[in-house]
């Protein structure tokens, strides 16, 4: 075990950083879903040219064959620069879903497009807007004119407005499964939903949308889905680390330059201590994220889930503490939407609410660790 970056990892980080700097990838508040998503989609293809869309795809499947530790490194940089590209969704999550599919045909059909950034798959799983729960699904398949089709409604599809395909979770008689549906399916209505962070999500109304072969055997559908979402969750924790980095940097700069009572406010101990707490909690969140990245290799799904939930609940809790500290130490400017901090605050809250918040993950952690 060691925590120093290898030469390859260092090169990867440099590549992503260079891209994020040059592409002006920063999350913008755009009034049009189309304008926002077209820009991000174009930049996602550029990122794919650097191999980033295929980062966690196995080498046998034409990917870079790297692990989630590397995905965390990448998403951390993207977070730091507030990038809008769907690395975690169309990259990590889609790759992990497809790679677990026993269907050679589906893998061959979609993985190359995912790796090139042409195919952008968004996970359409949520049906309740009150509580995250992968397993609560009423969307179903039905027979229409001799064809199997999908009907149901999906809410809050992350990166849904820029997706070319949706991985739609469906309740079948013998368990949960996942079907890929093209975004331009005539029986699918995609309604963009504006996000807190200025990005765009989607609501899906499926009314007999075309269904090809499902991704999984129904018996393994839920567990495969959970595994893919766990990978994406750890990657998005990496993004939160990047957001925290930037918020801490902004705060450090402010403490050293803002003058009150004739001196820099960073000379006051109460403020120094609040800052020290932010830095400490961010370090704990980093440790937790690395711990979970290591746990993804664990063959025991309960242990994997426990560790991923530990990390996500830490990142939610500590991420929020960094948000609150940064706002408080900035004073009035901290509650000004025009100031840079606002974008980071909003994005952190989005990450909190993506694939389970602190309450959800703490409860899952309790379920997984009880009896151990």
């Amino acid at each position: 075990m060691n925590f120093d970056l290898s030469d390859d990892q260092r090169a990867l980080v440099d590549t992503v950083e260079k891209f994020a700097r040059s592409a002006d990838a920063r999350r913008q508040v755009t009034s049009s879903a189309q304008a926002a998503t077209e820009g991000a989609a174009a930049r996602w293809e550029q990122m794919a040219e650097l191999g980033l869309a295929a980062l966690v795809i196995a080498e046998d499947n034409g990917g870079m064959g790297l692990g989630v530790a590397e995905a965390v490194l990448v998403s951390e940089i993207l977070g730091q620069f507030l990038a809008q590209e769907p690395f975690v969704t169309a990259g990590v999550l889609a790759s992990k879903l497809l790679e677990q599919s026993p269907s050679e045909e589906l893998r061959a059909k979609y993985l190359p497009g995912v790796a090139e950034g042409r195919v952008r798959i968004a996970l359409a799983s949520d049906e309740s807007v009150h509580e995250f729960d992968l397993a609560s699904v009423t969307t179903h398949t039905e027979d229409r004119d001799g064809r199997t089709v999908i009907s149901g409604r999906k809410e809050l599809v992350i990166d849904g407005a820029m997706a070319t395909h949706f991985a739609v979770t469906v309740q079948e008689a013998n368990g949960l499964n996942v079907f890929l549906v093209a975004a331009d399916d005539p029986n699918l209505m995609v309604t963009p939903v504006r996000g807190l962070d200025g990005g765009w999500m989607a609501r899906l109304d499926l009314d007999g949308a075309g269904a090809e072969e499902p991704l999984f055997d129904a018996e393994t559908g839920l567990s495969s889905l959970e595994c893919a979402v766990d990978h994406a969750t750890v990657a998005i924790c990496g993004e939160a680390l990047g957001l925290a980095n930037r918020m801490i940097a902004l705060t450090a700069g402010y403490l050293q330059t803002r003058q009150q009572f004739g001196k820099a406010i960073g000379t006051f101990q109460a403020l120094q201590h609040r800052f020290a707490e932010m830095v400490t909690l961010a370090e704990q969140a980093r440790s937790g994220t690395l711990m979970a990245a290591a746990a993804l290799g664990n063959d025991d799904p309960e242990r994997r889930k426990a560790d991923v939930s530990a990390a996500k609940s830490l990142v939610c809790r500590h991420g929020r503490a960094v948000v609150e500290g940064a706002i408080q130490l900035h004073g009035g400017i901290g509650i000004t939407d025009e100031y840079e901090l606002s974008r980071y605050v909003r994005r952190m809250i989005e990450i909190e609410k993506t694939w389970g918040d602190e309450l959800y993950h703490e409860a899952r952690f309790v379920r997984m660790t009880e009896g151990r």
């Binding site: 075990m1 060691n2 925590f3 120093d4 970056l5 290898s6 990892q9 530790a69 490194l73 980095n245 801490i248 940097a249 705060t251 450090a252 700069g253 403490l255 050293q256 960073g266 101990q269 120094q272 201590h273 800052f275 020290a276 707490e277 830095v279 400490t280 370090e283 704990q284 969140a285 440790s287 937790g288 690395l290 711990m291 990245a293 290591a294 290799g297 560790d307 530990a310 990390a311 609940s313 830490l314 703490e362 952690f365 309790v366 660790t369 009880e370």
Partner: protein
């Protein structure tokens, strides 16, 4: 970055867990699991058992009889000991030992090192004074040169286990010139030296661990100086660094969390309301989660190259470790419930064979809360750690 333990590390961890679990005497383990205080002879007996395996001095290099373990292996050892119900190792073994090995003369090494592994010599640390706590460098216990000896006058306080010790290493003032740090000398002395008096201080839970130590014309030979007159601050800083992994308190917190889980099972058995059990379960989970991250911070600190500005420092470990110890000991008290109204101090201190009315564990829950209020004070207060973290990090962050 490679986040997986090597197979050698895993093999060592499994080996040491298995071995240590077999080595801890049942009566000592029972006292630990009953949340009782241990006796001096418990520590001495355990240390001798470790010594027979060559594991008495985990942080010492091989040339001085240490096992030659890596920092990671030491963490596994420490954890195994805590989880098996062993006494904690007297921290001074890994403090004065490395100090003597690094700065001691051949004569000092020959005289003092052999008694440490078995605790034949028990050392206490004379640092804090009534007027010098966080501001340690302001210490005023004075050593005045008189021919080939020093005459010491003054007072130390919060001296842990001074009443069990036959040796002390201490910081004394030998000069008022320059900065306060520049006039301090690191000195060894025997506790039976005439003029030295130890008086007990009873802690919140009624236990006697810490003491006041008075110096009234205590004569110490000048050959007992380590490194040199007025060089004491260098030695003190080195010594603080030597206890880096210990201050994380990972093993201690894990053990208390294990106690909390056991207590939860007992409360469930006893028919405690489900709302109350759920609240405890949630707090156990919160602590378990933070403890996992804390363990990884410890591994990151261990792995960091010296002087790497981006690596988390020992202050992070201290701060988070303290937070966990405070929370898990508070949880134990809360889980103890109304039973904590009763307290049999003698039973907790292991005097006699009396079993307290509601059993040892419940007797020890509120007392454990009281005992662990010290964790934010020892080894640099929480507030001092935050000052350090601010100073260590703000410039680097502002430049990003």
């Amino acid at each position: 970055m490679d986040l997986n333990l090597s197979s050698a590390d895993i093999a060592f961890r499994d080996m040491i867990r298995g071995e240590i679990a077999l080595m801890v005497p049942e009566d000592i383990k029972a006292r630990v699991e009953n949340l009782q205080h241990l006796r001096k002879e418990d520590y001495v007996r355990w240390q001798s058992i470790l010594d027979q395996r060559g594991w008495a001095t985990p942080a010492w290099p091989v040339e001085f009889g240490g096992p030659g373990w890596s920092p990671m292996q030491r963490v596994f050892f420490e954890e195994a000991c805590f989880m098996a119900g062993a006494p904690r190792q007297i921290p001074h073994i890994n403090m004065i030992g490395p100090v003597l090995q690094t700065f001691g003369t051949d004569e000092q090494k020959r005289r003092y090192l052999p008694g440490i592994p078995t605790l034949r010599d028990w050392w206490c640390q004379g640092y804090s004074e009534p007027g010098s706590g966080s501001d340690l460098a302001s210490l005023r216990t004075r050593a005045v040169r008189d021919g080939d000896r020093y005459i010491i006058n003054g007072q130390k306080i919060w001296t842990t286990w001074a009443h069990w010790s036959n040796h002390m290493f201490c910081l004394v003032r030998t000069s008022d010139a320059g900065r306060p740090q520049e006039g301090i000398t690191f000195l060894l002395l025997k506790m039976d030296t005439p003029g030295l008096t130890v008086r007990p201080i009873h802690s919140l839970d009624g236990a006697h661990d810490v003491n006041e130590v008075f110096f009234d014309d205590v004569a110490v030979p000048i050959e007992n100086v380590i490194l040199g007159e007025n060089q004491g601050w260098t030695v003190a800083k080195f010594l603080l660094n030597a206890e880096r992994t210990e201050i994380a308190g990972v093993g201690q917190s894990k053990r208390m969390l294990q106690f909390a889980r056991r207590l939860l099972a007992e409360l469930t058995e006893a028919g405690v309301s489900s709302a109350r059990l759920d609240a405890f379960r949630s707090r156990i989970a919160g602590i378990a989660i933070d403890l996992k991250a804390h363990e990884w911070t410890l591994m990151r600190v261990i792995d960091a190259k010296p002087g790497d500005p981006k690596a988390p420092s020992a202050s992070f470990l201290k701060l988070c470790g303290t937070d966990l110890l405070e929370r898990v000991s508070t949880l134990l008290m809360d889980m103890g419930g109304p039973a904590g109204l009763a307290y049999d101090m003698d039973a907790r201190n292991g005097h006699g064979d009396d079993v307290p009315p509601y059993g040892h564990v419940l007797n020890g829950t509120a007392a454990t809360f009281l005992e662990y209020r010290k964790s934010g004070l020892v080894g640099g207060t929480t507030e001092i750690q935050k000052n350090l973290i601010y100073r260590e990090t703000v410039i680097r962050w502002a430049a990003q």
